[in-house]
């Protein structure tokens, strides 16, 4: 089985900052908007290099979404930046009418998603945003797993015509995905294309965001137990790569989904729909279970709410027994 190692760790939001800075240099139509969280979103470099293309909106997220929608009239490609909670739930109707229904080319970039925001607690730890955004017609939903993937995704969504929700997080995480370079577009991020991380025969683990690393750790533990796990990195939750999931499950016969999100409305339910329609399969869901989060360190929270490699190992054994 392929092993993933790392030499460096960084937060995914810094990958967003790096990707945005790169877009500042290469795409004159890209503009950035922020609702008083420049440092948290790592937007400093873009602002330093492109002061005229940055718009500080103040603490007014609804206005930010509207302004972003309006800027597309005139050919701009706006990237909005704030925490995931304030990027979605707070401004749902603004996104629904002014962005999604109006077919506007806005990139809603959301940091500090999920429990790993940590000590600030449940007011800021949104666990419902994937569900909210995937229900909007025409919205692309992406949740990246490490610095490199976030950087590559940020660059890729500028080329995609249409509204995108890009979800990433606060904590420092291992960098295990290859770095995008513009030489030959090497390691280019492909929206809607699942990445098979390991080959396996006993269980498919479909993971997104920070849970991809946990799934890889789980697959190594499972291997020690003689269980062969196939890990799929499903950065794009909508449109979902149905074919990749069906192909893997045809081989393994069972699936575990893993996400830093409520199991109601998340990636797991999207996978379940694909399987129910095409190939009904035993499935276990790793995610929060219809609950709010709370204060704590990211690691403590991931353990308490069962969002780590340990839980994925247990779920894998359970789902294999159900075959």
């Amino acid at each position: 089985m392929k092993k993933y190692t790392y030499t460096e760790s960084k937060d995914t939001r810094s990958g967003f900052g790096a990707g945005l800075a790169e877009l500042g240099r290469t795409n004159p139509n890209v503009v950035a908007l922020c609702a008083d969280l420049i440092g948290s979103l790592k937007m400093e470099k873009f602002i330093e290099e492109n002061p005229n293309r940055f718009f500080q909106i103040g603490i007014a997220e609804a206005n930010m979404i509207g302004i972003a929608a309006g800027m597309t009239v005139g050919g701009k490609i706006p990237f909005t930046g704030t925490f995931a909670n304030f990027s979605t739930g707070r401004v749902y109707d603004q996104i629904r009418q002014s962005v999604a229904y109006s077919d506007k080319n806005v990139k809603i970039c959301a940091s500090h998603a999920g429990l790993t925001l940590g000590e600030d607690g449940a007011t800021h730890q949104i666990l419902e945003d994937i569900g909210l955004m995937k229900m909007l017609p025409g919205m692309t939903v992406i949740n990246t797993c490490d610095y490199n993937q976030t950087e590559a995704a940020t660059i890729a969504i500028a080329e995609h015509e249409g509204p995108v929700y890009l979800r990433f997080g606060r904590p420092v995480m291992p960098i295990f995905m290859p770095k995008y370079t513009d030489v030959n577009n090497e390691n280019k991020f492909e929206i809607g294309k699942a990445i098979q991380m390991t080959e396996g025969t006993d269980v498919t683990i479909v993971a997104t965001g920070h849970l991809v690393w946990e799934a890889l750790q789980a697959s190594e533990k499972l291997e020690e137990m003689g269980i062969s796990a196939e890990v799929i990195n499903i950065h794009t939750i909508k449109p979902l790569d149905d074919a990749a999931i069906l192909k893997s499950v045809a081989k393994t016969g069972c699936v575990v989904t893993a996400e830093e999100h409520n199991v109601l409305g998340g990636l797991g339910e999207s996978v379940a729909r694909v399987l129910a329609e095409n190939n009904p399969t035993p499935q276990e869901f790793i995610g929060t279970n219809d609950t709010f989060g709370e204060s704590g360190t990211p690691a403590q929270l991931m353990e308490k709410y069962g969002l780590n490699a340990e839980s994925i190992v247990k779920a894998s054994k359970k789902v294999i027994a159900r075959k």
Binding site: R53, A62, N63, I65, G66, G70, V73, G74, Q94, S98
Partner: protein, 281 residues
């Protein structure tokens, strides 16, 4: 365009509004009739518009965003008479598979519409974005908006009002349809708006009134005055005093016709008050 010519379009637009809402027994005639002079003046006299095919970006022409999307009948009629689409299409208003949805949308590709509206309070933010994009593009044209007065109860407006002045968005003219009415009754009873002029001024806007918002000459002069005040560092607000239901006597001075269609007899009565000047659709 001569005032008389503009008034002729107003008569026809009122007829269109009445016939559109009557046919489908739904829609919003009251606010539409109150803003007819404004929209006719805007599209036929005040705004600089490019001829030829509609393009979404609207570079090097003035833009208009309708925030109070429920007055779609007047918007559609004015767009049709200005040539964005055929006036025969007005007959599809609110019907299944129509581009003329109950509230305006870009979703069906109707020329002339750049943003969906209907859920209130979002239009000013969108207009701000379009206005700032114009500045980035070195485009000196203006952005116009229309908002209901009751709509100002939505909080997002005040985020946008603060931003517009704070960021010197001075290529924007926001007009408030100041008719004092909303669905549940007079604004003074539902939720008093207070002194709107003082509020906009306190936020840093340049404010002017059009005292007779249903007098074509007053509307044209007021909008030209507003235009003259752009480019001076402040966004411009026009408080346009109108009469809901204007031009159809039994619909005037009441909120009763906010979202109600006339019956056959009422339609005939309303049409009799407004001569067919440009041909019914």
């Amino acid at each position: 365009m001569e005032i008389k010519e503009l008034e002729n379009i107003v008569f026809q637009t009122r007829r269109d509004i009445l016939r559109m809402v009557h046919k489908v027994n739904s829609g919003h005639p009251g606010g539409s009739l109150g803003c007819t002079e404004f929209l006719v003046a805007l599209y036929n006299e005040v705004m600089e518009l490019k001829e030829g095919d509609f393009d979404m970006d609207g570079t090097n022409e003035d833009l208009f965003f309708l925030s109070n999307g429920h007055i779609s009948p007047v918007f559609y009629s004015v767009l049709a008479h200005r040539g964005y689409f055929s006036k025969e299409e007005l007959g599809t208003f609110r019907l299944l598979n129509s581009r003329l949805q109950g509230h305006p949308t870009t979703h069906e590709g109707l020329p002339g519409v750049r943003m969906a509206s209907g859920s209130l309070g979002q239009g000013l933010s969108v207009a701000l974005g379009a206005a700032q994009a114009k500045k980035l593009n070195g485009d000196n044209n203006l952005v116009y908006t229309l908002h209901g007065d009751g709509e100002l109860q939505e909080g997002q407006n005040w985020e946008a009002i603060m931003y517009a002045a704070g960021k010197n968005v001075d290529n924007l003219i926001a007009t408030i349809d100041f008719n004092g009415q909303q669905i549940d009754g007079p604004t003074s009873e539902v939720l008093p708006l207070g002194d709107l002029e003082a509020k906009f001024k306190a936020f840093g806007w340049d404010v002017l009134h059009i005292k007779e918002g249903n007098n074509m000459e007053a509307v044209v002069n007021g909008l030209n005055e507003a235009k003259a005040r752009t480019g001076k560092g402040k966004p411009v607000c026009v408080l346009m005093h109108t009469i809901m239901g204007n031009g159809v006597d039994f619909m005037m001075h009441t909120h009763a016709w906010h979202g109600k269609a006339p019956n056959d007899e009422q339609l005939a009565n309303g049409l009799a008050q407004n001569p067919e000047t440009l041909g019914d659709y």
